[in-house]
Symmetry: C2
């Protein structure tokens, strides 16, 4: 393939899959490749797997304008040493510098948390087009997010703004892996929903997808676990809306695709806790970009720099 | 007095007092006057009281550069029709347009929520100098706030960003006057602290100041009410820090001046709930600007426009 349209090289690194692709400046994903993230504690095995993948993409378009990278957090930002929770082989791994040397050269390269990348993509090309104040949320293996306020991506003091998963929804509640307690993530992330359903007596498939199927079939334990998760997300959104005066919240990730078993309790809890008119007015919608939105998001991160 | 330094006309309108003054562009309050807010349901009685006050200030400096106005919320923003919770005589009162016609003419005039004004003042001249990501909080008769992120004042979709008082700290908790439930404000505002102390058996002076004195003397009911309020504020700050990645939180208002009976439980609850390193790093400090910081804040709102 020989591309004539200007493209951005996009790289998306998660605990489950690695993805790379070429994204046009209008957001269209022109080509992409994915592979499973190697299960290893060897940083170089991960790096080699990633570069094999990206090399095969860049072979199609040596003339890309810049490089955008989304990666699971946490990371040092903007310097880009990553320690993704779900990729134990990388701790303080100098991902940005390694990618810059190999793929960017003098071209712009930007990295951010994958949830921030998703928020930026939804803002530019998805459900948040034209919106100046929004929160993008991913409810999946973890719960993350990204803020756009005053029409701009909010980075925060250390590039970590948007961590709605560590807002407190049960003050004094159970300890969270982050070191705090009562965090949204430990209630609403997929594995937590499944664990809670099992605790309540769910005997079926213990994955998020399995529990979701059980909840849709009316199993009380599975339904209670999804209700608890949806309500926790809705309550956190009410708090975020009061603090940030949001027009829109966009929710992506696998759990957000579970339908009414998740969305109904989410909307109920939001309505109960959102009192002031400006909070109530906030719209809450599903993400528009799909499975590969991580690549769109990675590209969106660098777009302002290349145009 | 004849002023030769460039000044801003500042107006601060609260449920307890009206204030006006002349603020130099370096933040110095050169002159000011205050009077009690009239207790009335007549909008024009309030307006006449305010203009009497402001007229006596402008008589000293006909050459001010612009007009800054802080007022209790809520308000329509930026158009400036105000409906302050604690000033029932004004509902949808066109404060900004009336002040523009009388005092601003062609000069710039800006209005905002008084808590946002305080945050802007602390950012420019107080504890937040040089900080790019901070939250200013006022804990007083109400609980309000203002956000500075990416070095900019955050307005939100309708000028209401910063409402930390309506973040949820007791999911499913008691109904709040805002229409939601479990809000920070209904636990941490002065009258709520006093009511809670009385409910627990406090028999002394039922004002915030009285209960604070009782708490410092070791009265268990008074102490429990302050502990509950401080913990609620600390928990909300942990959530705000996770969402916004703050370097600094600055707290002003009468309740924040109560000393360790308020600050110790605040810091304890923050430490328990702030897990991720970037949240823990956030510093929480008292406001540096004093009783008349509302005037500095009002002036700060318009400063970018006049310089």
């Amino acid at each position: 393939m020989h591309l004539v349209t200007p493209v951005i090289l996009a790289i998306d690194i998660g605990g489950t899959k690695l993805a790379s692709g070429l994204v046009a400046v209008n957001g269209e994903l022109l080509t992409h490749q994915t592979r499973a993230t190697p299960v290893t504690n060897d940083a170089e095995v991960l790096w080699n797997s990633l570069t094999d993948l990206v090399d095969s993409v860049t072979a199609e378009a040596p003339a890309y304008l810049g490089v955008g990278v989304g990666c699971g957090g946490p990371m040092r930002w903007p310097s880009g040493e990553v320690s993704p929770v779900n990729i134990p082989g990388w701790r303080e791994f100098p991902l940005l510098n390694r990618l810059r040397a190999r793929y960017a050269g003098d071209r712009p390269i930007d990295i951010h948390n994958d949830a921030i990348a998703l928020a930026v993509a939804e803002h530019r090309w998805g459900a948040g087009r034209g919106i100046r104040n929004m929160l993008g949320i991913v409810v999946s293996t973890g719960v993350g997010g990204g803020l756009i306020l005053n029409g701009q991506r909010i980075d925060g003091a250390s590039g970590n703004a948007g961590h709605i998963g560590h807002m407190v929804v049960e003050p004094g509640g159970e300890p969270c892996a982050c070191g705090g307690r009562g965090c949204l993530e430990q209630i609403a992330r997929g594995p937590a929903i499944a664990a809670h359903a099992i605790k309540l007596g769910w005997l079926g498939d213990g994955t998020g997808i399995g529990v979701a199927a059980g909840a849709r079939d009316g199993d009380p334990a599975a339904l209670a676990a999804f209700t608890r998760a949806g309500r926790a997300v809705g309550t956190a959104i009410a708090s975020a809306g009061a603090l940030c005066d949001l027009e829109l919240v966009v929710i992506g990730g696998g759990i957000a695709q579970s339908g009414s078993i998740f969305w109904d309790p989410l909307r109920s809890a939001f309505s109960e806790h959102a009192g002031m008119e400006f909070v109530q007015r906030c719209r809450i919608v599903p993400a528009e970009l799909g499975y590969l939105s991580g690549l769109s998001g990675a590209a969106a991160l660098v777009l302002d720099d290349v145009l």
